[in-house]
Symmetry: C2
Subunit: 139 residues, 2 copies
């Protein structure tokens, strides 16, 4: 069922009810929950799970490269389980909806050497901002 869970198991993770629940909550496409949203959903399945455990578990998943941390709004970080398919994000400035998107081209190639200031660049994040269709109609 959960690809995420399978991959984590294969990395020698000690499997606990808490970790299983967090992984299950994160499963799916276009999932971008905050840590507290993950906690709220986890609690419905495992009432005694603590906030600290959710934060720890999410942090470990990020370290293992199985989940990506996204900061789209300067508020709470969001967690994106779609870590194995490179993608960017499209964000609605009104309701905060987030979609995964796949731009053509390589943004890294667009940065000339003279603009790299000697940095070794490892990663490029692109955030498209706009208004989603449902917010546009309820203008």
């Amino acid at each position: 069922m959960s690809d995420l869970l399978e991959r984590l198991r294969g990395r020698g993770w000690r499997m606990t009810a808490q970790r299983r629940v967090v992984a299950e909550v994160l499963d799916g496409d276009h999932v971008h929950l905050t840590a507290d949203e993950v906690h709220a959903r986890a609690v419905t399945r495992l009432p005694e799970i603590s906030r600290a455990t959710v934060y720890n578990t999410l942090g470990e998943m990020v370290t293992l490269g199985e989940v990506i941390e996204v900061a789209t709004d300067g508020r709470a970080k969001r967690y994106d389980p779609n870590a194995h398919r490179p993608h960017q994000h499209l964000v609605c400035g009104r309701c905060g909806a987030i979609r995964d998107v796949h731009p053509a081209g390589d943004p890294l190639a667009d940065l000339p050497d003279t603009e790299r200031f000697g940095f070794t660049i490892s990663n490029v994040e692109v955030t498209y901002r706009g208004i989603c269709p449902s917010c546009a109609t309820t203008a």
Copy 2:
């Protein structure tokens, strides 16, 4: 001296010592201070300036489009006075250094209609991440 200050004056801002100091602290290129860093520097020039005023003033500058808010790390927001020349950011993952950069090409053109989900896109932010030269040598 401060272009920023001149533009704000021209918009009917009531000019106060506090606002002047905040604008002066922000003046320059490759400036990306957090609100508390702005406050710390402002205090050296105007000891009685409050944190709330710094937050308010920065917020107003952002609303007026004279300063850009940048969230590069999911921690404190940073404030970039270089609002009138479109640019992107290059961030060192170790020390947090930030440089303004100017990629070639238009990232918006790279997003096909089928990947826009009906959104009206108004803005694209690109963040290049890597290691800066001085962090690379002190590996």
